[in-house]
Symmetry: D3
Subunit: 251 residues, 6 copies
Amino acid sequence: MSHTEPSTLVVSAHAGDFVWRAGGAIAAAALRGERVTVACLSYGERGESASQWLQGKSLEEIKAIRREEAEAAAAALGADIEFLDAGDYPLLESQEIVRQLVDIFRRTQPTVVLTHTLADPYNGDHPAAARMALQARVLAQAIGVQNSDGSFPTKEDIIGAPPVFFFEPHQGEQCEFKPDVLLDITEAFARKQQAMECMPAQKHMWSYYTDLAVRRGVQLKRNAGPNLGLAHETLAEAYVRFYPEVTGVLA
Amino acid sequence: MSHTEPSTLVVSAHAGDFVWRAGGAIAAAALRGERVTVACLSYGERGESASQWLQGKSLEEIKAIRREEAEAAAAALGADIEFLDAGDYPLLESQEIVRQLVDIFRRTQPTVVLTHTLADPYNGDHPAAARMALQARVLAQAIGVQNSDGSFPTKEDIIGAPPVFFFEPHQGEQCEFKPDVLLDITEAFARKQQAMECMPAQKHMWSYYTDLAVRRGVQLKRNAGPNLGLAHETLAEAYVRFYPEVTGVLA
Amino acid sequence: MSHTEPSTLVVSAHAGDFVWRAGGAIAAAALRGERVTVACLSYGERGESASQWLQGKSLEEIKAIRREEAEAAAAALGADIEFLDAGDYPLLESQEIVRQLVDIFRRTQPTVVLTHTLADPYNGDHPAAARMALQARVLAQAIGVQNSDGSFPTKEDIIGAPPVFFFEPHQGEQCEFKPDVLLDITEAFARKQQAMECMPAQKHMWSYYTDLAVRRGVQLKRNAGPNLGLAHETLAEAYVRFYPEVTGVLA
Amino acid sequence: MSHTEPSTLVVSAHAGDFVWRAGGAIAAAALRGERVTVACLSYGERGESASQWLQGKSLEEIKAIRREEAEAAAAALGADIEFLDAGDYPLLESQEIVRQLVDIFRRTQPTVVLTHTLADPYNGDHPAAARMALQARVLAQAIGVQNSDGSFPTKEDIIGAPPVFFFEPHQGEQCEFKPDVLLDITEAFARKQQAMECMPAQKHMWSYYTDLAVRRGVQLKRNAGPNLGLAHETLAEAYVRFYPEVTGVLA
Amino acid sequence: MSHTEPSTLVVSAHAGDFVWRAGGAIAAAALRGERVTVACLSYGERGESASQWLQGKSLEEIKAIRREEAEAAAAALGADIEFLDAGDYPLLESQEIVRQLVDIFRRTQPTVVLTHTLADPYNGDHPAAARMALQARVLAQAIGVQNSDGSFPTKEDIIGAPPVFFFEPHQGEQCEFKPDVLLDITEAFARKQQAMECMPAQKHMWSYYTDLAVRRGVQLKRNAGPNLGLAHETLAEAYVRFYPEVTGVLA
Amino acid sequence: MSHTEPSTLVVSAHAGDFVWRAGGAIAAAALRGERVTVACLSYGERGESASQWLQGKSLEEIKAIRREEAEAAAAALGADIEFLDAGDYPLLESQEIVRQLVDIFRRTQPTVVLTHTLADPYNGDHPAAARMALQARVLAQAIGVQNSDGSFPTKEDIIGAPPVFFFEPHQGEQCEFKPDVLLDITEAFARKQQAMECMPAQKHMWSYYTDLAVRRGVQLKRNAGPNLGLAHETLAEAYVRFYPEVTGVLA
């Protein structure tokens, strides 16, 4: 595989996170014909399924429901999805998960990585996912680090140094989330909406994230200036870039 | 003038700053056929001309020498240059200079702005220049803010919201300079070298900024990953982006 | 006047700021029967009246319109308003304005002060207003600092050390706005709505600030926990507290 | 139990920390008739008992002494105390301790939580305790997270989102401790004094923490202003608030 | 004058600041036989003389009293003192004062500079003094910057780049004061005490600053380790170093 | 052993780090006749030996080569070296390694400790090494913490509180590396060069670190001022001091 073919890898702590927080970016990439893979570390079965627990569902039932929803949402966005079933609340950091992520990095050869912020006082699983994603990204670059089956990677297997973007957490200011990048998702939003509707138990989030897209769109236009021919109702998602940008042109 | 034609405005406190710190970006834009304008607030006649003072030159002589050098350097880079002769050491903030900068912003319609960092404990003129550049950039957007001749701007005169990049100061860590952007200047570097050579009194800077370009180039390659077909000796300049980036694609 | 009677002083750079950003806090205080005074430093005549300029109105006409709107909005909120007509874009810091603010602090004896954040890369008038408000607050405490008519204050004239809260700017993350305080404005919101409707030229702001109140309300509930009997649709405004809180009870 | 009955939970790394750092807050709550529970993770047997080690005491003897002292101090303050005996120097983070803390959170239904700062370069046990306290606070809110005996919680068992306050470390500036809250402990101080005297091996701390209370009291008065009828010698403790404050009134 | 002869310059906003905050460092230098000069920008006549205003004293009387006290305190510490009478509350930044400070820097050739922190939300005069001191320190290095009498400096007149230390403000945490340096003032403290006693109107400060010296001394010993033969009651002052340290030995 | 005899302990994640980053400080101490010990946690066998993996060498061969090179480099610098063989990529934090480090701290009684920064987004092994070094430094001070053989330390065995310096990472700005200390290594540099040449596989680093020494030397001279009689080509290394400096003289 050529390493420069666009490929997006999303590392999501729970089964809903990639939809709410990065659905626009995912759909936009898929609409451009690019490959997107979601690595879903847990189903959010304990911490983000309160209504199902209150209905008396069992752990296995809840995991099955959440998995199905996430698969439908990924399909709506145009992404592949893999489940690592690593448990949530807490999602514990382990070398076992990191190794699986190393395999996924090498298999998908991402040119862009999306994951959670490194701080989140409301949910420790999010930074845990981010820390593991970042660790795997570094390990997957090293030819001396084995694949999880014990074999050594070839020169083609190891990855480059893809840029990492943190997606927007729920209470951004408490998570030190100061957006570096405002991504235009106007055209991709219909798909994000469809994906959100695959999560019927969190209906209140639909309008929340639609409003947020409007608000980020207003900011995008404010930062772009008035003369760029942007849509009247531009919609956007916000990201924080972790590594410096590499570019040939300032813009 | 169409507002979306690329145009770079560089606001430089002294007559050498734009060469050492942004010469690569300027030359690269010029090589792409874009317009670049340097607004040079002072000649650096008091604070950055020690050797000439020691030779017993007068203030006016020193200003003339520095102006000539700066003109030659701008020509080598392919940029226009304007001198505001606002004085240095200290460069005092004033509404008079801000108004002149508003005029320049409206006249040049920049799509990119380059200036100094907002902190510099070694040289107060640099942050003063940055503060005035940022103030003028906001004022120039407002249709209710008059031009310096008292006339009101038309809808075409006012500017959009061009991104601002801070260029690298001499002791970056003490100036809270954490690069967001590494700019490939490999092809433009020959021109930067020529421009540096227009400043013979600061010969020791030539190798300093060549080494820095090498070091930033190493970082660029490290952040880009190994597979992008970059030149063996990639050269780079580092920048800090002040406003969030607006984009259609994460990359 | 007893110094412990509740009194809120709002220092607003332009004629709209106090409505959008602190309208809920103002209305809530007024509904509790407390005195609220808005010190409005400028009318926002140059920087925040683009549509009127485009209609060809004169500076004096625009100022008159904005004043009228602000008076109506203040009345709707239940607040007094004073105009300092200090000019905008730029609002220049001056000892003249600071002195007038010292007089207002001493006259109104605030127990709470609301103003802008100290950073705002989109609008330099906002931090300028905040810096002058903070300076006046310190000077008004000193018995050796004269009133603007040259007389010295009595022991009753000088003020205590009222807490200061920064209200929410438009692009909070770029202004280092990390909320310390989420204020429940559910009951006061109807008045804020009325006040917003006194600003017909900025109709797009009405829904923007309604959405923001919803979003801050969701956060308020998330931070309060589920068991406090809060309204289903709680509405809130966010603030940053500048000085440490003084209290008899942790809560 | 009604969730809104005031209840304070203090998570203390070692057997003395809650006395020196939060004794005033604990005593004040107890004096108001509220329930206070101290979860004491270790006895400080290795790291904070140097004089006993030098006397040749055994580990078990030291733990017994420290436990007795802590019980006496808690009694003097009016608090319940529970010992988790998790070891110190280092206090290792573990899911086992976190689970026990989840149980305690659910049992005590805290409306206020006090613990250590998240940074302390002089003592790694303190941030470890804080991280576990914060993790348990989040997990205890989730209906899908089991109690440590494997049973699932009822809707009444899970907790709300109590505010968290970090108490003052020994070298605050090195621990990023910037106080948000100054708590008046003037009336409670006699009890804190009694509690401190239950720790005879650390006699030098008695005057240290008395002086600190005076100093924080001076700051409290400076921040409150002169007109509030505060005691001449007001005594205070300082805290950092971790989550935004939720309130109906700015004050 | 040889530039390497030790010389300390203290830039103090008001007539008391150098005593409370840097009295130990000043006395210690004087005891080592070194020259110390205090540049006292104002008498603190408006902002720090409340009791005298309440006694009905006039501005001139107050300035005379404060001057006399400051002279006595400087003498007790072993320092020279110069008064710039620039006014306080507010102390306004001006090029006039900066120029006078440039002269003082060139005349005293400091090898160490002490001044206020750059942030102080309780007193804007302090950061104003610091900003002017830092500006003068840079200007005084430039051979192209004239003395205040219009003459140009010789190569001997211009200064090197002396290290700058910020002394401890009253509410350090609110002023971003994170100590870099703990200075042992045990032997110099008797002189500091004498100097403090020259300020009878602020008697409550005497014990406040004695307690602070004890507390900083405890920290000094904690950071030095137990084996350095330090005095039982070591006393200290805390400082923040503004520029990086230059050294031949790590210690 | 007297505790005040100078002794430097360097905790290095991989077999090359101590050479590139602290070789000057090590050689300078050795040239002064002081003892220096390098605790080398891993050989960098997986993450920093890409060329050897590409040559098809086995893990054990690579470790042997790296060990030999590190021994030669340590000898060239004049330091002792110990290998903990804890593995790299990832270097996992463990109590086992921390305990071994506690033994080394007690055995070598360091008066200065050098290690990695606490943040490094390019290499997680570096902060892991730093965290373990800092933890061991605290534990080694406690008389209640056993040696790794289970014995208790005597009063002579436990250490003081040696200052810690972080050495310069590869992309400093991304690692929050803001130098506090610039160390003159001009005389020691020849030895550092020799040591670097013991690492032939990383030949490109030789010139990189020579250039860096030049650049840090320029900064050292800029911060020292012109009058100190420094060598024309002063060479330097940069460090961040973790704990406050303890001193008797400000300089």
